[in-house]
Subunit: 120 residues, 4 copies
């Protein structure tokens, strides 16, 4: 898996070059990039609109469909990487910080097997 | 920057462990994860709702606001990484493939400085 | 039901007055309103994030939850009505036209009981 | 304008019949409808992705573009009306209640000409 060796910086550089070659930086305001990301997230979601939750797992058994889904995931990722370039955000730092924050918000003993807790 | 050294696999492992510790895998169908991702993308976008495109770049001058934005970006990333775990998608491969595809779709000479081309 | 007697124009007028009293028209560009609408749509969707499709129907049995959902639906509607004001779009005409278009796209005999048709 | 005379109930009936003729009720869970609505909201938003806020107002000068936008608005509306059918929500009641709630949340004297208030 390329994921084993590819750093975030490598792909941030790739999307930065792509935009620079086309002189697209003026379009890439945080507002526009966030809109673009939300639009691609909706296209990703649309693949799973009419299937039930469990059935949506079967997408892995359909190579053409899985490739289409991976393609939408990449669109989301490209916007996210471009936005982190524009804002100077260290994305992996932000992710690690968020996981730590969520570990406090969702303690294991309380949330094991459930997503919301109505009473203790 | 941690982005210089952090691989996608490292953070995919982190979100996998987080979910496993809470036994959240049954909730993490592709359908639900895509919905969650779209929801977080909308929260990210909401930060830029009432500002103009150019003005949205000023978020970098406001550390508290920038931290809030980075936090939402991390939420989006966590869903994307979790989805790539569930689907067995190599995210960096998908991103590289997408950039190559977009390089063909948006040739430099034709798209330099503009996002859409109505005639040649 | 107020829906039996309330016209679209009545509520378009109500949201127009609301914006005018606050001098919010400068904020209400189509771009911003479309972003606002998408943001509220995501908040509506979030209520159903972790429940299965069938289980989501049970929201009708929980008055507090149903009221919260109706509140989000109203947010979506207010943006849609405001956008139709700003663009001068006759929303009911657009809806009737869309239903007619979909009736051609999804012929009854072919789509009865299914949402997609892979072969004839 | 048809909006002057068309009630919400009239179009709720139209979308109900459309779904009934195709036996689509089993697909129309609140979860799926909220996802569909969010997907259409993103398609509407996409029309305004790369234009600036003020420039987005010019869509009214381009009949073909305006028709495409109205078509997406109708898609959003159809999902919203179908969801109100499924949940038994009186949409116009919910809208009126929301406007009243927002009138309290955003007092005219405080919010005139601005969307957020950082201090009094």
């Amino acid at each position: 898996m390329a994921d084993n060796t590819t750093t975030f910086a490598t792909l941030k550089d790739a999307v930065r070059r792509f935009a620079a070659e086309r002189a697209w930086e003026p379009f890439h305001s945080p507002k526009n990039l966030a809109m673009g990301l939300a639009t691609e997230a909706a296209e990703l979601m649309e693949h799973f609109l009419w299937v039930d939750s469990e059935a949506s797992r079967q997408v892995t058994a359909d190579p053409a469909k899985l490739a289409a889904v991976a393609d939408e995931m990449a669109d989301v990722a490209c916007y996210l990487l471009t936005l982190s370039n524009v804002l100077g955000v260290d994305l992996s730092d932000a992710i690690v910080a968020k996981i730590a924050k969520n570990a406090v918000k969702y303690p294991v003993e309380k949330y094991r097997g459930r997503y919301s807790v109505t009473d203790d």
